[in-house]
Amino acid sequence: MSKDLITVAMPKGRIFEEAVELLKKADYPLPPEFEESRKLIIEVPEAGMRFILAKPMDVPTYVEHGVADVGVAGKDVMIEEKRDIYEVLDLKISACYMAVASLPSYNPKSEVAPKIASKYPNLTSEYFRQQGEQVEIIKLNGSIELAPIIGLADRIVDIVSTGQTLRENGLVELETMMPITSRFIVNPVSYRTKSAQIDDMVDRLAEVIAKGENNQ
């Protein structure tokens, strides 16, 4: 952690672009385009920021250990990872939801065992416990839709934005679990030792988000 720059952990890809868009609207002088490089650390001294680009699932880890002061993480990742961090703002970007899906022919009575495939074992287990159902979870790292098709599990738990992936693979949604958006997260120590810079960032972002809502 540098004393002057705020280190911001960001997921690579679409969320990064949307979050940068928000920061620009909040009048942070960020370059019009981040060059498509393989750089993992990008410094923007004019904005007082250093971005580190991580896998979405890893962003809360960097922030919890304090190697990043703040970060942008999906609520899905935060529920899954349960890190000791401040969840300060709902950025309302990358909106989607978690859902349970299966083949249309799914019949709970013919299940050998209630097997569920997911990239989110903790979130899935917690959800089904709250529903009063004991399930067996099979952890996958991607292409979750494959699981019911080839018979690895009857149901899957995954993130859904438009539902197109499910449809293309012939799956149907059984239940919606929870809405997901990206959150602005803060390390508990940075939240105090760099409170002036971080509070300013939170206020400016909150203003942009509130404006965005009114325009809808």
Partner: protein, 396 residues
């Protein structure tokens, strides 16, 4: 289970190698000296305690306890903190002693880590407990002592956040009406989930003024002016009393000239039920976790059938050492005397003389070391007593 390799240790267990050990010892001694100069008396308690007593009384989550069975089948725990064992002693063996008690400890505590590395499962804590004094001065003393200890430990930049659970509870209860809801919303603060807190407030059937009071609670962080803002939010006697306490505390800390390193944070909720009044945490710049924490815990001794107010702090030696280590360059060892057999006596005399001045001196016979240049590079000073220059080098 797979066969263990000889070098493996249980998750979270760490070795302390000489370089780090030396730094850790310096830090520990600095803090212990400060604390004992404030009149706190050191005590020791056993590593193993009963789960039913100290285990359940401790502020540490159940899943973080190391548990084992004794031969009678009782569940034991490796002590997860030092406050609960000291409360046990204060409530039993020392319950007739004159109050207030001022006790200090320096001991390893144990907290099981399940997820991953990066956190130790055993680490040393240095701290104090001030038992039997409910006054505001006791809280002020404990906080100032923690700051004085940090100062003495050599950590360059640190900061303290001070909050008050009494205020949080009073405000929540005043707006929300009952204990169950108060608990529910306090949990959001404990889990640091401001988004969830706001979303749920939004849905409550409350007046917009009351909602605003709850939203404003999340912003009560900063200098002494925060107390004034907080006064606008709370009406109840308990709430105002908590703020009076905090205000007094700040003025006492001012007299200790410690106001610069301190901020008020009325959202600080470190535990769901353990603390009852003032709470505080210490941070060092450049380290992502708090280096110490403490607060008033007036109900803990009740768990040992003895009602008494108490307050204290604990500093984490592992994190403090890490914070200081990041600021310091590697230490060179003092002096090495490299001698040949013939000149041992000379070398011994020199060593004795230097050790008398407080230096550490390694005596190394030349034939016992393979690469003299590499070996001697670890030392600030190297003195050679080799060969025979007739200078008193008598042979056997």
């Amino acid at each position: 289970m797979t066969k263990l390799f000889m070098f493996e240790k249980p998750l979270g267990m760490r070795d302390t190698l000489p370089e780090l050990y030396q730094l850790k010892r310096q830090v520990k001694q600095a803090i212990s000296t400060e604390v004992s100069q404030w009149g706190y008396e050191p005590i020791e308690t056993p590593t193993l305690e009963f789960y039913e007593t100290v285990g359940t009384a401790s502020a540490i989550l159940d899943q973080q306890l190391f548990k084992l069975l004794d031969q009678q089948g009782n569940t034991l725990v490796l002590r997860p903190d030092m406050t609960a064992p000291i409360a046990r002693i204060a409530a039993s063996t020392l319950n007739k002693e004159d109050r207030p008690l001022r006790l200090t400890y320096d001991a390893p505590v144990f907290r099981a880590q399940q997820r991953e590395g990066g956190r130790p499962a055993e680490f040393e804590q240095v701290g104090v407990e001030l038992i039997g004094d409910q006054s505001n001065s006791a809280d002020a003393e404990v906080i100032s002592l923690m700051m004085a200890s940090l100062e003495r430990s050599g950590v360059q930049s640190y900061q303290i956040a001070i909050g008050h659970i009494g205020f949080v509870n009073a405000l929540l209860k005043e707006v929300l009406g009952n204990d169950a809801r108060t608990d529910h919303f306090r949990r959001y603060l404990y889990e640091k989930n401001y988004v969830g807190f706001r979303k749920e407030v939004e849905q409550l059937p409350l007046s917009s003024i009351d909602k605003r009071r709850l939203y404003d609670l999340l912003r009560l962080k900063g200098g002494p002016e925060v107390i004034e803002k907080a006064r606008q939010l709370v009406e109840s006697k308990e709430g105002q009393a908590a703020l009076d306490q905090l205000e007094q505390l700040i003025s006492v800390l001012d007299t200790y000239e410690l106001a610069d390193q301190m901020m008020i944070d009325l959202n600080l909720v470190m535990h769901m039920s353990y603390y009852t009044g003032t709470v505080f945490e210490a941070y060092s710049e450049g380290l992502g976790y708090p280096v110490g924490s403490g607060g008033r815990y007036d109900q803990l001794l009740d768990q040992f059938d003895h009602h008494e107010p108490a307050t204290g702090f604990g500093l984490r030696l592992d994190r403090l050492t890490e914070a200081i280590g990041k600021e310091k360059d590697a230490l060179l060892k003092d002096t090495c005397l490299i001698f040949s057999h013939d000149r041992r006596k000379e070398a011994m005399e020199k060593a004795k003389e230097l050790r008398g001045t407080g230096q550490s001196v390694v005596m190394q016979e030349l034939t016992g070391v393979q690469n003299v240049d590499a070996y001697s590079a670890q030392f600030q000073d190297v003195i050679y007593y080799v060969g025979t220059n007739g200078n008193g080098g008598a042979s056997q």
